[in-house]
Assembly symmetry: C2
Homo-oligomer: 147 residues x 2
DNA sequence: CGCCTATTGCGAGCTGGTCGCAACAGCAGC
DNA sequence: GCTGCTGTTGCGACCAGCTCGCAATAGGCG
């Protein structure tokens, strides 16, 4: 079942005429099966576990290309490196400034905001590229109040 | 009147025991009087207009220090360099992915979102660090529809 | 199998920012 | 106004995260 997700993805890319190389397949595999918010470097090391000679720039180029194809999206959870998702899994992020943990925003959370912005400013929101920062419940309790 | 804003800021910093150097005063001056979303490099060149020998790292260090003191905040409007505001002027940003223009979010815009997040997840939002991307009215009209 | 061309490995290069250090300059105290 | 303490500065080296140019390689179609 979960092996299928990769195969399906690969098949549909091939149908679009996208060439499937080992590196590209392994990047997709790492995205399908790995931990939730991998950075390019984490993806690189997953890829290298199977194909040790893959070069970092290959991973960057594949991520760019897959993003251009609409298969992958990247997100910034803070100041560090970008993190990647399968586009099908895209979601907003709430990141705690104190403990650094990233919560996935419930899918409807930005809906109201998006509607308000649209109505008032005519602006169409794509709220997934940057995380929204703040303090999670646990850290807020331990932190001296802040404006 | 507008010269006062700087003087007031400087006076209050001095009262807190902060040492006021030429570079620091010029950075503040550029923030008070310059264009709305300056990058560190833009601030550097404003500063150099008055004091040509100020070094880039001095501007970075002053911005860090002023941020630590709560006088300045930085924001990421996109992939480029960070941009700076006086903390007193802080506001959310809506940035158009097509034309790159940054709109200031009306101050109450994030209020609902913040209340929703707080109630449902106990998460306290600080919605100013990262911009929220999207398409402005003008660009949305010209762009082939997108999910 | 062979060709075409997209993709890769590789290293150099780039942007935006940080750091360690010795010289320097605020400003409090006299 | 001068002195001294200490925070700040100029400077260069360095760093992370990413991008590019190029020649060699390898998908995939016929
Ligand atoms: Zn991004
Ligand atoms: Zn996520
Ligand atoms: Zn930031
Ligand atoms: Zn702004």
């Amino acid at each position: 079942m979960s092996g299928d997700a990769l195969d399906t993805l690969v098949a549909s890319l091939r149908r679009e005429g996208v060439r499937i190389t080992t590196a590209r397949r392994l990047v997709l595999d790492a995205l399908v099966r790995g931990t939730p918010h991998p950075t390019a470097e984490e993806l690189l090391s997953s890829v290298r576990a199977m194909a040790p000679d893959v070069h970092a720039s290959t991973v960057y180029r594949n991520l760019d290309e897959l993003e251009r194809l609409g298969v992958v999206v990247h997100t910034h959870l803070g100041h560090g490196p970008a993190t990647y998702h399968l586009a099908a899994d895209a979601h907003g992020h709430l990141v705690c400034e104190a403990c650094g943990r990233a919560l996935e925003a419930p899918p409807d959370l930005f809906g109201q905001l998006a509607r308000g912005v649209k109505r008032r400013l005519g602006f169409t929101l794509h709220p997934y590229h940057f995380a929204v920062l703040g303090l999670c419940a646990g850290c807020a309790a331990q932190t001296p109040a802040r404006t």
